[in-house]
């Protein structure tokens, strides 16, 4: 049981917005949907819920297409655009018509207003809402049906640190309750704090998928920097054992070999070591590296960028 996306494709003319995308959103996990701006995240989420039409591909929710669900709001709640609310309507009216359309009791409106902390402003026109209140109202809308899956597009955009923490803790709690959460962002640093799985896309195509640890292991670069008066001798010893080396001034930068292995080799051959330390590229560096092509594509050819 999961949300399964298979071969999802959308083109605008000859520009591919989303191409043959496969991914899954599993219950009990926060799936971070990551990619640079314009990568196709929002288009993908809109197609998953039938708001935009796909050219081809399938999306199923526990085996059923979204349009065939008896009670969509109980299966999926979504906030795809926090500002997609009539500014002249009150928060309560907005939630009331969504609840009525979903066959939910009016009492549910009060519950989600309380859950998201906007009960006090429920009668106020949405046009007077701050960005944070808009995001909370969007999450309240998504939670109306007490859904099994929750899709949120950039839910922390523009929030202050307190708001970001509230969203993070809220989503983690929902995942603990067994719900499947799909949350998009273009910031890995934020998602890495609470996402269990990552789906990284660029130019509408899947770049990588897996856990945050898997992503780190797969894409983060680990190097060992060595400082020694015997670097020349050390280079041949390291390379004979499978390590790769690169001279950077007085330092030797080693890849594919651990610091302890280098230390052992040096000791065995009585080569003095003055400095030996390991460096790991940050998750953010790894992310920028894997999405570099998409980033270059965006900044190098604006005429080809497709809206996400």
């Amino acid at each position: 049981m999961a949300v399964i996306v298979e071969g999802l494709t959308k083109t605008f003319g000859d520009k591919v917005a989303v191409g043959d995308l496969d991914m899954a959103v599993e219950p009990g996990l926060v799936t971070g949907f990551l990619g640079p701006n314009g990568a196709g995240k929002s288009t993908t989420m809109r197609m998953m819920l039938g708001i935009d039409r796909s050219d081809r591909g399938n999306v199923t929710f526990d085996g059923t297409a979204y349009t065939q669900l008896d009670q969509p709001a109980r299966m999926v709640g979504a906030m795809l655009d926090a500002h997609a609310v009539d500014p002249d309507r009150s928060a309560r009216s907005h939630l009331s018509y969504l609840a009525a359309a979903s066959g939910l009791p009016a009492t549910r409106v009060d519950e989600v207003l309380g859950l998201t902390g906007i009960r006090e402003v429920a009668k106020r026109h949405v046009g007077a809402f701050s960005l944070g209140m808009h995001q909370r109202l969007g999450i309240a809308s998504a939670m109306l049906g007490d859904p099994k899956y929750l899709f949120l597009d950039e839910p922390t955009n523009g929030l202050d640190p307190e708001g970001i923490r509230w969203v993070r803790q809220f989503l983690q709690e929902l995942a603990r309750q067994g719900r499947g959460i799909l949350v998009s962002s273009h910031l890995l640093a934020e998602l890495s704090l609470y996402a269990d799985q990552l789906v990284v896309i660029g130019r509408g195509r899947l770049i990588t998928t897996g856990s945050v640890d898997h992503f780190r292991a797969e894409h983060a670069t680990i190097t060992v920097t060595v400082r020694s008066p015997g670097l020349d001798e050390l280079v041949s010893l390291i390379e004979s054992r499978g390590g790769s080396t690169q001279r950077e001034g007085d330092d030797l930068v080693v890849r594919d070999m651990t610091a302890s292995a280098i230390g052992d080799v040096a000791a065995l051959h009585s080569i003095p070591i003055h400095e030996l330390h390991t460096e790991s590229s940050s998750l953010e560096d790894a992310y920028l590296e894997v999405t570099a092509e998409a980033q270059q594509y965006r900044s190098g050819g604006d005429d080809q960028e497709v809206e996400s």
Partner: protein
Amino acid sequence: MTDLVLSEWIKFKSLRGSWVRLAFAIAINLAIVAFGLWFFNRSIGDSEPDTGLTNRIGTISGGVSMAVILMVVVGVIVYSGEIKSRSIIPSVTVVPNRTNMVAAKAILVGLVGLATGVLLMVLNTGISMLVLDLEGFPLSLDDTDVARVIVGGVVFVTLSALFGLGIGLMANSQTLGITIGILWPTAIESSAQAFLPDWIGRFLPFEAGSAMLEVPANPDLPPWEGAAVFLLWAALVIVVGGSMFSKRDLGSS
């Protein structure tokens, strides 16, 4: 479907603009009724006053032609207002079956149009009958032409709102929808009639709809055949607009 119609009703009633537009339609209609009665009263003093049934009934139906234009706008905004505010995105998320959503909107618009039409015609008839009676030119509800114009006015107002819904669905833009909705009955049809033969021109939507208000009835297009033609037009634009809506990408609207 009851849930969906209730949802559409909450959307409609929770916006002040909905009530302002309906009030404006009623106010303009009443202003024209008042003007018609004043004009009728003034003509009594003429050397050859025309106080016949046609003119007396005209005081009831005179304001309807203007009210239907505003009812078209009411219908247009029921859909295009959601496009403008982008609230169509959460709406479609909870109601992915867009055909059902269009059906619910049509029922809501039909009911709002019917209620407004009844209110308009009750006010118009009551005021006109009272004033004309005081002036010694009574109107009777027993007169088939009077009864037909009253019912015809209600039908005309209702179908105009539904026609507006179809225009809104097709235009997919509030500004474009309102522009077309206002220009259609006021300019587009009259321009088209200048180029079209009479036997085609009388089947244009508002020309056919206004046959319900004509006294005496137009023999070339009798009142209820005119109503049927306008109903077909309203159904056509809703079906075509609904079909376009069903295929449309809404995220980038």
